[in-house]
């Protein structure tokens, strides 16, 4: 049907977001903050911002993403604080660069809180409908059509479809089309995208069983208590008002292993019924038993799904076995002998868009104004989704408002690392954030996300002005205090010697700058407070920043130098229409790769797989010949 023959909703939106999960929600909220009118479609409004897998937010690498989203005015950390039933800081015994916050959340309350935030945003309309078709004119998106054939007009569209595109659930031999357990999938949209020529692939993920709390014997398990003095996830936020609950750790038994081995053929994954690519970092129990055959037991963590819910998430027991096997294998775990499965574990396959189809704004190269975010881009995780949602939402708003695109570099944030990885290297398994993916890990910390990103967030109108002011104040405070500890001299004496000795540090041999003392192992800010206090009061956040700066000093300086060096290449822009076919000295393979990926600058080109130094020279030479090299801006 042609656009003029269709029934259109009377309101024309700036942005339509298809999907209301963690990506869709942040996309809509960010665009709304920038002044856009937004319409969000959910297949089911009861599962908006759902937690279909683990009921938790954050974790190593992911906590950094949540803080970055927060520093850019996003909702995830705030909603997390409203609904947390357990806080933990991971890696506390390791350095600040790899410490991350993780919360367990009441998943119903999380959904409700996010729904409320979106409902109360005057610029956002929430609709329940399945989007089946994109409306495209002259290569530009103009709107979408829902499952009833009703059309909705917009200047930009963000697809945040999660596992819904051609979703197919597997439990043993049984398979059924579904977006998630109990929800309609979206098949028509996937078919249209393939017809449009988009490179689509198939991925697999899964979720473990939910067990009834009363059927579990927690007494034989190890208790994981919540952090007694938690810090809020969100900047300037407060910790959750909800009661804090424990998790419990159990282990699979030799019997579990035997059950898996004997029934491997019945598993959807090992029975050959699944074609989608699974994630190596999140293996199913079948995978763990097969790939690490000599490991006798595997960890199972039992996490509460909420205050009012009796359901317990059995982390570590994910599988795609038929029900009779699932019952046996759950009950083979000590403490779960009587366990009642309320929801079975299942595997799900879904279509994703090869992210090499995307520009660094997350807009597709094929259709102007069409953006994608979250699992549709081949990633996994609520946090990865939220970060991409924000990124796509902001860039959609920028497109509509004719503002320069919003890009963070690999040196500015984990968000920048992730998007650059996606659009430059593509994916072969669901992409999850790891701190090892960040080359500037010591700079990209959870504790300094606001200091790194808020300025940029403010430029785009994403950040609350009061929060920004507080951050700027803190930045000054940190700079002043850092200068002070560098120039304040501490003299040796019996008192300092005693203090240091108590903490296993050697006494001072000569007068030294306070910063040098703070750098020593075992010395924390207590030393400064006691022997060389600042004239005014120093906030704990500033103390922490100064301490990190001092302790990491040489390393931070080294990374900053590397960032600067890498920046040379990033500043050399490659125009969008650049013709690689005429560049002498490039291999055909690399020509094809460059033409497909279309790196926006020489730095990105250098990260394309197989790009050699000589190839970059060749591109640079051709760029200079064309005279189209912009070196300075952006």
């Amino acid at each position: 049907m042609k656009a003029q023959d269709m029934a259109f909703y009377p309101k024309q939106y700036d942005l339509i977001v298809a999907g209301a999960g963690h990506a869709g929600a942040e996309a809509a909220l960010a665009a709304a903050r920038m002044g856009c009118s937004v319409c969000v479609f959910a297949v089911n409004l009861e599962t908006l911002a759902a937690m279909p897998c683990s009921p938790s937010i954050g974790g190593t690498g992911k906590g950094q993403l949540v803080r970055e989203v927060d520093a850019l005015g996003g909702a995830m950390a705030k909603i997390s604080d409203l609904t947390a039933i357990q806080y933990r800081t991971l890696n506390t015994r390791k350095g600040p660069a790899v410490q991350s916050t993780r919360t367990q959340n009441d998943k119903n309350r999380y959904h409700l809180a996010m729904k409320q935030v979106m409902e109360r945003d005057a610029r956002i309309d929430l609709k329940q409908a399945i989007i089946e078709r994109l409306l495209i004119e002259d290569g530009r998106i103009t709107g979408v059509v829902d499952h009833t054939g009703y059309a909705w007009g917009a200047r930009a569209v963000v697809l945040a479809t999660g596992t819904f595109l051609s979703g197919l659930i597997h439990i043993g031999h049984t398979s059924m089309p579904a977006g998630r357990a109990g929800e309609f999938p979206a098949y028509a949209l996937a078919e249209q995208m393939k017809a449009l020529g988009f490179a689509m692939g198939r991925m697999k993920t899964g979720t473990p069983a939910r067990l009834h709390r009363a059927s579990i014997d927690f007494s034989v398990m190890e208790e994981e208590r919540p952090d007694p003095a938690p810090r809020p996830f969100s900047l300037g936020g407060t910790v959750s008002p909800l009661p804090q609950l424990s998790s419990h750790t159990a282990h699979t038994s030799a019997k579990t292993r035997q059950i898996i081995r004997e029934n491997l053929g019945l598993s959807a994954l090992y029975g050959g019924r699944i074609t989608g690519a699974p994630a190596r970092y999140c293996p199913s129990l079948e995978d763990k038993v097969v790939r690490f055959a000599d490991k006798e037991r595997h960890q199972v963590i039992l996490e509460p799904e909420g205050i009012d819910s009796e359901e317990i998430y059995a982390s570590g027991l994910g599988n795609s076995m038929p029900m009779e096997v699932q019952v046996a294998l759950v009950r083979s775990v000590p403490g779960l002998e009587q366990a009642e499965i309320m929801r079975p574990a299942y595997a799900i396959e879904y279509d994703y868009l090869n992210p090499l189809e995307l520009l660094p704004t997350l807009m597709t190269k094929r259709v102007e104004g069409l953006f994608t975010a979250g699992q549709i881009n081949g990633t996994s995780g609520y946090e990865e989704a939220a970060a991409q949602g924000l990124w796509a939402g902001v860039n959609a708003a920028c497109l509509v408002q004719k503002r320069p695109p919003f890009i963070l570099t690999r040196a500015e944030g984990y968000m920048g690392v992730m998007v650059d990885d996606l659009v430059t290297k593509g994916v072969t398994e669901p992409y999850r954030m790891f701190t090892s993916r960040a080359e500037y890990r010591l700079l990209l910390r959870e504790d300094n996300a606001d200091l790194r990103l808020m300025e940029k967030g403010r430029e785009y109108g994403l950040v609350d002005p009061d929060l920004y002011k507080a951050m700027a104040e803190r930045k000054r405070e940190i700079a002043d205090e850092l200068a002070r500890v560098n120039k304040t001299i501490v003299k040796p004496g019996p008192e300092t010697a005693a203090w240091l000795q108590e903490r296993g540090a050697a006494p001072l041999e000569e007068a030294a700058p306070l910063s040098r003392v703070l750098k020593r192992a075992g010395v924390d800010y207590g030393f400064a407070r006691r022997f060389a206090p600042a004239p005014g009061e120093i906030s704990p956040e500033a103390e922490r920043q100064v301490e990190i700066e001092v302790k990491y000093e040489g390393y931070i300086a080294r990374q900053l130098k590397e960032v600067e060096k890498a920046g040379e290449m990033e500043r050399i822009k490659i125009p969008p229409g650049f013709d690689y076919g005429t560049v002498p000295g490039l291999s055909n393979e690399l020509k094809a790769k460059f033409a497909r990926i279309r790196p926006v600058n020489l730095g990105q080109a250098g990260r394309v797989e197989g790009a050699s130094l000589a190839a970059l020279y060749a591109v640079l030479t051709a760029l200079r010949a064309g005279g189209g090299v912009g070196k300075d801006e952006g």
């Binding site: 190593t60 790899v98 490991k295 790891f434 010591l442 797989e609 050699s612 030479t621």
Partner: protein
Amino acid sequence: MLHDTIAAIATPTGGGIGIVRISGPQSSAILRSVFSASKPDSFKNPAHTAHGTPLEFWRKSPCRLRRGWITEPGTHRILDEVLAVFMPGPCSYTGEDVVEIQGHGGISSLGSVLALVIQMGARLAQPGEFTRRAFLNGRMDLSQAESVLELVESREATSAAQALDRLGGSIKLHLGPVFSAARDALAEMEAFLDFGEDVQDMDIPRIALRLRENVLPQIRRLILRSRKFALSPKAPRIVVAGRPNVGKSSLVNALLGEERCIVHSSPGTTRDTVRAECVFSGAHVEMEDTAGIRVTEDPVEQQGVSRALASISRADLVVFVYDASTGLLPEDLEILGQVEHPSVVLAANKTDLLSGAPTPVSLSSRPWVPVSAKTRRGLDALESRVGERLKADIPSGEEETCVVNLRQRGHLEAALAFFEGAAIEGEGEGRVELMAEDMREGIRELQKIFGEGTDMGILDAIFGRFCIGK
């Protein structure tokens, strides 16, 4: 902008002269600290005032060559007599302040000048880095860029191929296990950092110990070997010997392609040994012409003879020349007996004086080559036989073969420092994120030796070894 200063030998190895090029903001400071325009013996009382200090000279007349000496600050040891030039940016090759020092082309002198420059604060340039800077600073137009690129690339290609050929891949052989050991250690650290819940126990001091056992000594050994090599350069020495008047000097001159040795037809003119460095059969060699050897009463000539015999004893290969027009005489055989060298190539010179073909000589499987210094016939054959012989003589023990070049050594030294840092951190506070940082940098340095990319494959290593995921 670019803050560091880079340096490298800008000319191919083996030439008569060579250039050390320095580019970056510290160029002039480095030049000032190593270059002296006054004569070295009067260095302790600097005589800069005659023409002003070197930098004043270049301030007045930039881009002009000036003669002087490279001396080690502190020790005042003279490394080379050179011509130096200072080209202030932005009108230089790279667009930055550039210094070029033209020195003598031997590996030893040029290498030691470069080593000194690096000691004074420059960093060894990566392949093609000067060109890269020139590009980045907008100093090159298309045609220049293209020609330079071709040069850089072809040179890289051939030198890479040569290096591989010469070393028989022994760097890879030596560094491969070191590289995997370092990468495994990093994978363990990354797994510990990223998957703390799955990989709970990591014995940090044990990892440090592993670095001390499986990484550091191996790298250190390579560096030491390379240093030893650089301090006493072993360009193979070829000594040309024979009776007087068989045409040794003419033959050496013909081989060198220029009139460098004294040539005279009366016996005993070459009283002293004469040396020249050249590229011979693809290798950098030192060629030495000696006085004719014969029993003589003349004390001066006697001196020359004993010097010639001493030269022969130090030689890697002896080209024994005799007169083809007279054939191998008893005197020749007597001298050959005195020579007593395991590697001898027999050259039957003056074949131009023969009407027919020279009679082949077979002396305990020593290669025999008929040549004519005058008509240049047989020179190629001689060169290739000498080359073959030299290659056959290179000791095959693995200890000797893996000698890295200066660039590779720079990366090895950097890698060593980083790995050492990781080990020290592991033995001390044990902050794994900082150990990992050092490991990453160290591995990056090793990758530069292989010319490999930045993808470390760490995640693959992690997933291959650890059961990750709850």
